[in-house]
């Protein structure tokens, strides 16, 4: 085989987590989740959720661990991590602000809200994708419809919904998170 110098390695979106260790409780939870399904593979989304809840993001090691537990190839799990936007491939801020940007919320002022957060936290409102502050405390992200169109604009701070978020309310949310 010719040694080629023009090719690139396979791009890797996942981070390595050298101190990766699955606590017994998490492994037990994973095994319990697997019992919910007649086919092990089905549990992959739930396992990814469990791992993300525990580690904050999905690392290379997590992918390999889950794949092995489900008797799959790692690519099968990697495919999912990159398909479903809720899974993070790198750590997000302790306070993850997800602002709905879809039509009803946009009509209700979601873009202003997003810009407000970015300005407050010193982030670039125009940039694509989730953005994390330098201290790793906050992540601001535009997401698609959060099913709260009647109370636009809506957002989530971690797992909590906030509806009808005025700029004033936004400040309160940030304050509640200890700014």
């Amino acid at each position: 085989m010719n040694e080629s110098h023009t090719t690139e390695p396979i791009p890797n979106a996942l981070l390595s987590q050298p101190d990766f260790a699955v606590p017994a409780a998490l492994a037990a939870e994973a095994d319990e989740l697997i019992t919910h399904y007649p086919v092990k593979r089905s549990a992959s989304l739930m396992l990814l959720h469990a791992f993300q809840d525990h580690f904050g993001y999905i690392s290379q090691q997590a992918v390999v661990w889950i794949a092995a537990r489900l008797e799959l190839a790692p690519i099968n799990i990697y495919e999912l991590v990159t398909f479903y936007p809720m899974f993070h491939q790198k750590p997000v801020g302790k306070c993850h602000l997800k602002i709905c940007r879809t039509l009803s919320c946009a009509l209700g002022g979601a873009y202003e809200l997003h810009e407000h957060f970015c300005k407050k936290l010193g982030l670039d409102a125009k940039a694509h994708g989730p953005q994390t502050t330098g201290d790793g405390k906050y992540t601001v992200e535009f997401v698609e419809c959060l099913a709260g169109c009647g109370t636009a604009p809506v957002m989530m701070c971690n797992d909590t919904f906030h509806e009808g978020v005025s700029l004033k309310k936004a400040d309160e949310i940030l304050k509640g998170r200890g700014q």
């Binding site: 992918v63 790692p74 495919e79």
Partner: protein, 579 residues
């Protein structure tokens, strides 16, 4: 070139023919064809309803497609094969409505369907060339091209690319896409033999399905979403099984390219010759791509009785020895030293006729039982047969050399000789193969065997050591590449690689298949069957037919397993012999 014929049988194994399926009649663009109601699944062999695209193939109507491949499970994602159709209209009485002119009334479906996944039903009419179908194909092609890098000048697939082919029929000369293209990873080393350009990928998933369902290695997948979807293997886990290069064949575009063939030659220069892979006993049908007597690549050729349309990487890349610099290219004669013969007689270079004449004389003069022949199961049926006849005439002890390595479940056979079956059928090989080799070695040691003829093998590697060879009065070797035996041979006859001659092999399942000549032999090298034939004629003083067809047909008469076969009836895919 991979042939994409839509044959029904699709398994790699030769399975017993299923009972003839019920036929249903459909019309394709007005032409009526009868197709079986079910067709075996290409991977599992289970009967599946026959699809429209198979019916169209039966009617010789080609429906453009990207993701569909007759040997893979259906994906239905490229949407290039959209067609319109109609089914017989059913009246309120649940009977077909008949037009005033006696024909069945057809109710046309409102929406198009993909021909690759839609089953046919009796009386169905498929329309593949309506203006609407044309518009849909144009639309799909435009969508596929908007994010394509259009870098045909540096793409190895150029010339055999489905995007190029269909854009001639359905493309626009000018793009109306003014946005920025989606950029993706380029020149990714997917595995040791595969380079991936994701910008060229049209996400047809053929490679994913092949490697998962056929090769059994779930190594590839898509990451990201929507138009940013990207083909990849898991980072750090190279795409490395023995069948990876098939993905290059089935990739309809230039996304997956072979590292071996990369940037070596444009495909339109390659002459394509139907041949066989010689790397194991499976006998995969191949096409040799050559230009000006240099071989650039092997590609599998469809043969459902042998290799479907796949071949292993091991066999595919095993061609470089043919072009090696140290090939044996001249007839050589080594004067036996220390035997009192004038060593100064090494005058002009020996010629074929002179050498063959001398050998014939010596063989004729040899006493019965003093000759042994080590043949090779890499030789063709014809060569082995001629050798067997010679052996019979000379009363020689014969055998050939077994070559065993690890096989796999799909195509790679543990028997790495391409023609072990032929060696057995022609009677040249002992049973089991190689069991006579110790006897030959013993014969030489005891001095009973004085003459050894070795074809295409290194005798020193099969128990006949160099010092035994030195004991021989006459060592005749025929080979392609130099080895310890050829260096000791008194007469060295340069032979041809399979790509340089014609002939037949019998694979492990008894299929007799022929291969054709792709490139000219090097130097003075001649096809072995030619000089074996000459030698046999000389020794037996009998006339013969000096053509490969003649030799084959004669062999077919003399070897019971081949009876009834002729060179002509072998066709491109061979015939199974009675083994």
């Amino acid at each position: 070139m991979l042939t994409e014929t839509m044959s029904t049988a699709a398994t790699i194994e030769t399975k017993p023919q299923p009972p003839p399926a019920e036929k249903i009649k459909v019309k394709v663009d007005g032409k009526e064809v009868a197709v079986p109601k079910t067709t075996p699944d290409p991977v599992t062999g289970k009967p599946l309803p026959t699809s429209m695209i198979q019916a169209c193939a039966a009617a010789n109507v080609i429906v453009p497609h990207y993701c569909y491949h007759p040997k893979l499970p259906v994906a239905g994602s490229c949407r290039m094969c959209l067609v319109e159709f109609g089914t017989p209209a059913i009246g309120p009485d649940r009977k077909p409505i008949v037009n005033p002119d006696g024909t069945t009334k057809i109710s046309r479906a409102l929406r198009p369907v993909i021909a690759c996944a839609t089953p046919v039903s009796p009386g169905m009419e498929i329309y593949t060339n309506t203006p609407a179908v044309r518009l849909m194909r144009e639309g799909v092609l435009e969508f596929l091209l908007i994010n394509h890098p259009l870098d045909c000048p540096i793409c190895d697939q150029a010339g055999e690319c489905k995007l190029q082919e269909y854009s001639v029929d359905y493309g626009n000369s000018e793009s109306r896409f003014v946005e920025a293209k989606v950029h993706k990873p380029k020149r990714v080393e997917l595995g040791p033999r595969i380079v991936l350009d994701d910008e060229r990928c049209i996400l047809c998933s053929r490679c994913i399905r092949f490697t998962r369902d056929v090769a059994g290695d779930d190594a590839l997948g898509f990451v990201n979403r929507g138009s940013h979807s990207t083909l990849t293997a898991y980072p750090g886990r190279a795409f490395d099984n023995n069948y990876t290069l098939n993905t290059v064949d089935i990739c309809p575009v230039g996304a997956l390219t072979s590292k071996d063939f990369r940037f070596r030659m444009r495909v339109w220069f390659l002459k394509e010759t139907r041949s066989l892979c010689t790397s194991c006993a499976t006998g995969c049908n191949i096409v040799i791509g050559s230009r000006e007597d240099a071989i650039y690549r092997y590609e599998p050729r469809e043969n459902d009785a042998v290799n479907s349309c796949w071949m292993c990487d091991h066999g595919r890349l095993n061609y470089k020895w043919i072009g090696r610099e140290d090939r044996l290219v001249e007839v050589r004669k080594r004067e036996a030293e220390g035997r009192g013969q004038a060593s100064g007689s090494r005058s002009a270079a020996p010629t074929w006729s002179a050498v063959l004449g001398e050998i014939s004389q010596k063989l004729k003069a040899a006493e019965p039982g003093s000759i042994a022949i080590v043949a090779s199961a890499r030789q063709t049926n014809e060569e082995l047969h001629l050798l067997a006849k010679l052996a019979k005439r000379l009363g020689a002890l014969t055998d050939s050399v077994p070559r065993i390595a690890a096989g796999d479940k799909l195509l790679l056979n543990a028997d790495r000789n391409p023609n072990s079956t032929g060696a057995r059928l022609t009677g040249i090989a002992a049973d089991p193969m190689g069991s006579n080799l110790p006897a030959i070695a013993g014969g030489i040691r005891s001095g009973r065997i004085k003459t050894l003829i070795v074809f295409g093998e290194d005798a020193t590697k099969c128990g006949i050591d160099a010092d035994l060879l030195d004991k021989l009065e006459l060592l005749i070797a025929s080979d392609i590449l130099p080895n310890a035996t050829t260096r000791r041979a008194h007469y060295l006859l340069p032979g041809c690689a399979h790509a340089e001659k014609r002939g037949t092999f019998t694979n492990t399942k008894g299929r007799v298949q022929k291969f054709l000549k792709a490139v000219e032999p090097r130097g003075d090298a001649r096809p072995e069957w030619e000089y074996l034939h000459e030698l046999l004629v000389n020794v037996t003083s009998r006339d013969g037919i000096a053509s490969i067809e003649g030799v084959f047909n004669e062999m077919a008469k003399e070897v019971p397993a081949f009876s009834g076969l002729t060179w002509a009836t072998l066709g491109d895919t061979g015939i199974s012999a009675k083994i």
